[in-house]
């Protein structure tokens, strides 16, 4: 069907004017009406892909796949054309499990195209029950079928598929081995490194073999990969670089030290390697670029810093670029002098941050300018870099940011100043000199918190005064500062102003005060300590009845940290109360667990709370609770509708270490579909089955 000829230079419009009419007509067809399925089946051969997709949607809207399957299988084998067969295949994949038996039948003797299509659809359905039948096809005489089967196994996954794919690597059929490698990569299963080394000697298999090395934890994999980044073929080098990026994402620098050394050795034998890596940094494939950035860092030539820095134009590469520039060492600063002005602000701050980590003071003016700028992301990165630079000349600018109305500026500035103060006595003194107030001066909240981290007993009067400041944020910060000092074992038992803050009109102040008292009480429990004063303990207990849940929660946690056993009853009531706010119930359970007083009956009630965080606290506490009831609680929780609760229960079962739970844990594992939960259950089963009964 074609429309009238278009005028020269004009863009042609879709030339099937009836398509929309047919599309709308299909949308009105009802597969449940008598003859509906047959009418839809007839339209499945429509020349328009949109109309065919509309048919598929209508067919799939039928509540029972049984009458739909024959329609689809008929279309699959029809002579109507590839579009019709593809639409039917798509629909069968979406039908899912109900189609699997008929598809498995069609893997048997029959036309090659039918068998191949059936294998492809089974791959789309991802039913592990098909793995065995598909595995058997890997030795079929039909090459297309072998290819379809190996690809399908790569989608289905599971132990049977993995075994078949690994076995296929021993085949004499090179396309099959290639397909198996691709499938294993999709499943993120790395064959043994020695096997990959052999396979990488076959040119056609080298690229996927190199990529799979990125999934291997074997030391041998690193050795092979080091040679891979110097491969004469660019595409093979890129595959190796992808593997490097994968390894860098999940292994520590120390783990990768042998790879780094291997790359340097490879460069000795291949002088072009640095230039190749620099070219690869500009790859459109981000994984290749990231791998190349890592390689350039390992090669350690600061003259390559500009190419590395330019990679930071891609936001996603900035973490790698930051590390790489830092690793290039002190010569990086001069090498970047000409490049920095050309970089975008985001890339430039990355480069500056790296130089700051190298202690290159020349970056100070640029960083100060960015820290004073309006762009929040740049400001945050620049502030952090100033903290790492360790240059005292940054202190005034950072201190000025402490009063910034945006917590995104004041918070990082305080963190940067704390980082500076931690570098030594001189820097600490400088920070304190700048951040301690003049007498009767008022401090912004961020400054108070900073003093709590880096100050000492000399700052106590400041905090006590600030507890009575008219600004709530200041009062909160003052309580937090006292808490921070208490955590460093500085400060008196419990100042009156802090107790008064438990009655503050603002809930955030009351909560902060409770937290601070809790930390003070915890510090007072140390040998030689006097414990929390009775008055403070009474006030905390009274705060368990505060109108605000956050305050009650803070009080509960505080009592737990203080070890006030006389309030166990009140905490148990909070933990198990039906309808208790989740933060309160969680805190109460945690407090009881901290005191070793989490009774099974209380935990059982908490485990029935509708909020999963409360249930998880109960589960964590049950790991150490005595008695069989705690074990039952964990097994129940391991069947919870929420995956995170089931996972927490699995971990608690492992932690409990009771071999009597092993059989039940194994049954749960066999039924578990969530991979994260299954992993935790598998760990639990391993632990429990190793223990003597």
């Amino acid at each position: 069907m074609t429309g009238p000829p278009e005028a020269p230079g004009r863009t042609p419009v879709p030339s099937d004017p009836g398509e929309e009419l047919r599309y709308q007509a299909v949308a009105r067809l009802d597969p449940l009406q008598p003859g509906g399925l047959e009418r839809l089946a007839a339209v499945l051969a429509d020349p328009s892909w949109r109309v065919r997709m509309a048919v598929v949607e209508r067919l799939l809207s039928h509540p029972d796949p049984a009458p739909v399957l024959p329609v689809l299988f008929q279309a699959l084998t029809s002579a109507a054309g590839a579009g019709t067969r593809n639409a039917a295949a798509l629909a069968l994949a979406r039908v899912g499990a109900a189609a699997v038996p008929a598809l498995l039948e069609r893997l048997g003797p029959g036309p090659s195209e039918v068998r191949t299509t059936a294998a492809e659809i089974l791959g789309g359905i991802r039913d592990r029950g098909a793995a065995r039948a598909l595995s058997g096809l890997l030795a079929d005489a039909d090459a297309n079928l072998r290819a379809a089967a190996v690809e399908a196994l790569g989608k289905i996954g599971g132990p049977e598929a993995a075994q078949a794919l690994l076995g296929a690597l021993d085949s004499g059929d090179e396309p099959l081995r290639l397909g198996a490698l691709d499938a294993l990569e999709r499943l993120r299963i790395a064959p043994p490194a020695a096997r990959l080394a052999e396979l990488s000697r076959v040119r056609a298999l080298r690229r996927p073999a190199f990529r799979l090395l990125g999934l291997s934890d074997e030391p041998e994999a690193l050795r092979i990969l080091a040679g891979g980044v110097a491969d004469p073929s660019r595409s093979c080098r890129e595959a190796a670089l992808i593997a490097v990026a994968q390894l860098a994402a999940r292994r520590s620098p120390a783990d990768l030290a042998p790879l780094a050394a291997g790359v340097r050795d490879a460069a000795l034998g291949e002088p072009s390697l640095p230039a190749w890596a620099e070219e690869a940094v500009r790859s459109e494939d981000r994984r290749v670029a990231e791998g190349a950035v890592r390689v350039l860092a390992w090669l350690g030539d600061p003259s390559r810093a500009p190419a590395v820095a330019e990679a930071a134009e891609d936001e996603d590469l900035r973490p790698a670029v930051l590390e790489a520039l830092r690793d290039l060492g002190p010569g990086t600063g001069p090498a970047l002098a000409g490049t920095l002005p050309r970089l975008s602000p985001g890339a430039r701050v990355t480069a500056l941050a790296a130089l700051a980590r190298l202690g290159d003071a020349s970056v100070l003016p640029d960083l100060l300018a960015m820290a004073a700028g309006e762009d929040e992301a740049l400001r945050g990165a620049a502030v952090e870099a100033l903290g790492r630079l360790g240059d005292l000349r940054a202190v005034p600018a950072l201190a000025a940011l402490l009063d910034h109305p945006d917590a995104g500026a004041s918070g990082p500035a305080a963190a940067a100043l704390a980082a500076l103060a931690s570098r030594g006595r001189a820097t600490r003194a400088e920070v304190l000199a700048r951040c301690r107030p003049v007498p009767e001066g008022r401090l912004p909240a961020a400054q108070l918190r900073l003093l709590g981290q880096v100050g000492d007993a000399a700052d106590l009067p400041t905090f006590h005064r600030a507890l009575r400041d008219p600004r709530p944020a200041t009062r909160v910060a003052a309580a937090q500062a006292l808490e921070a000092l208490a955590a460093r074992r500085i400060g008196e038992a419990c100042p009156p102003a802090l107790l008064d803050a438990l009655d503050d009109s603002v809930p955030a102040v009351r909560a902060a005060a409770a937290e601070a008292i809790g930390t003070l009480g915890q510090a007072a429990r140390r040998p030689g300590g006097t414990g929390l004063p009775e008055e403070a303990a009474r006030e905390l207990a009274a705060t368990l009845h505060d109108e605000e849940p956050a305050v009650r929660a803070a009080a509960a946690l505080a009592l737990g940290r203080c070890g006030r056993f006389e309030h166990v009853g009140a905490l148990a009531e909070l933990a198990g109360a039906a309808g208790a706010p989740p933060e309160v119930a969680s805190a109460a359970v945690r407090a009881l667990a901290e005191m070793g007083r989490a009774e099974p009956a209380v935990l059982e009630r908490a485990a029935r709370h509708p909020d999963p965080e409360v249930v998880k606290e109960a589960v964590a506490a049950a790991a150490a609770a005595p008695g069989g009831a705690a074990g039952e609680l964990l097994l129940d929780a391991a069947s919870h509708p929420r995956w995170d609760v089931r996972r927490a229960a699995a971990r608690a079962i492992a932690a409990r270490g009771d071999p009597a739970l092993a059989a039940a844990a194994r049954r749960l594992l066999e039924a578990e579909e969530d991979p994260m939960v299954a992993e935790a259950l598998a760990d639990a089963v391993r632990v429990l089955e190793r223990r003597p009964a």
């Binding site: 879709p14 929309e20 949109r50 936001e315 973490p319 970089l343 975008s344 918070g411 989740p582």
Partner: protein, 275 residues
């Protein structure tokens, strides 16, 4: 950020605004949310998750988290093939199709800091086909902070890094280190805060001739993509165009749109009703 924290945070954010982060985007979530820990003095992402569930400031922080997660760096004249198709093929078609009403409406859905919306407006102006028409380019985004930047219309030199963008500078005037968009272009553009998944907000959006929604759908799961595309279909005039990012398609999402092979690119079009 471990896999457990990632999944918990992802689920929380999905529940809050419908945006969904695939497993491969864990690194992005960690990088974008890391600074939020420093803002609140939190030790780790587990604490951040609890903060987002229970703290009194949780709703505001969820909005801040979404902003941090969805704000991407962008620049003028991004994806030149598509913009060439828009300028040289789609605009002439619309000039002819709308010549009676002399009204043109374009939506930049997920406009970030405004570069896309202003690029579109400049292309409309440069075409010379719509002088005297009622033209509006509407830029919307879920993040309020980038909208403020968009409304300021002031950009650094790096926003013009695409080769084709250099010629656009004639529509900007230099002010200090920035380039500020000319009033003639600014007059064509408006900005608004919108979550594409919030059906209640869609009443604010009128009938559109073109929708640009580029590199936004990566944040949606399949059901959300279907909802958004259905909404785009409802908002588009008959024969209107939907332009997605170069790596995005409507495959497995909908067949409601025709796929049109322009000389410079492939685009989607809402079919006209058949007479």
């Amino acid at each position: 950020m471990g896999p457990v924290e990632f999944r918990l945070l992802r689920d929380l954010i999905h529940e809050h605004c419908g945006i969904y982060f695939r497993d491969e985007l864990r690194y992005l979530m960690e990088r974008r949310l890391g600074p939020r820990l420093k803002v609140h003095g939190l030790a780790d992402f587990d604490a951040y998750h609890r903060f987002l569930r229970y703290d009194a400031q949780r709703r505001a922080e969820l909005d801040s988290a979404v902003e941090a997660l969805t704000t991407n760096e962008t620049y003028f004249y991004r994806e030149p093939h598509q913009l060439r198709a828009f300028a040289s093929e789609i605009l002439p078609m619309l000039a002819e199709a709308r010549q009676r009403e002399r009204k043109l409406r374009i939506w930049s859905a997920g406009c970030s800091s405004g570069e896309e919306a202003y690029t579109i407006a400049i292309l409309v102006k440069d075409s010379g086909l719509f002088e005297g028409w009622d033209v509006n380019v509407y830029g919307s985004d879920i993040a309020r902070r980038v909208l403020a930047a968009a409304r300021s219309g002031a950009y650094g030199g790096h926003a013009f890094r695409a080769p084709e963008a250099a010629a656009m500078k004639r529509w900007f005037r230099p002010e200090g280190a920035k380039w500020v968009v000319d009033d003639a272009v600014r007059a064509l553009v408006s900005f608004g805060h919108l979550n594409l998944l919030d059906e209640g907000m869609m009443g604010l959006v009128g009938r559109m001739d073109v929708v640009f929604c580029r590199n936004v759908m990566i944040y949606f799961d399949i059901p959300a993509r279907k909802r958004v595309v259905r909404m785009f279909r409802d908002k588009l005039a008959d024969g209107g165009f939907l332009l997605l990012g170069h790596s995005e398609s409507l495959l497995n999402v909908t067949a409601d749109f025709q796929l049109v092979h322009l000389r410079n690119d492939l685009v989607y079009r809402k079919p006209r009703p058949t007479p």
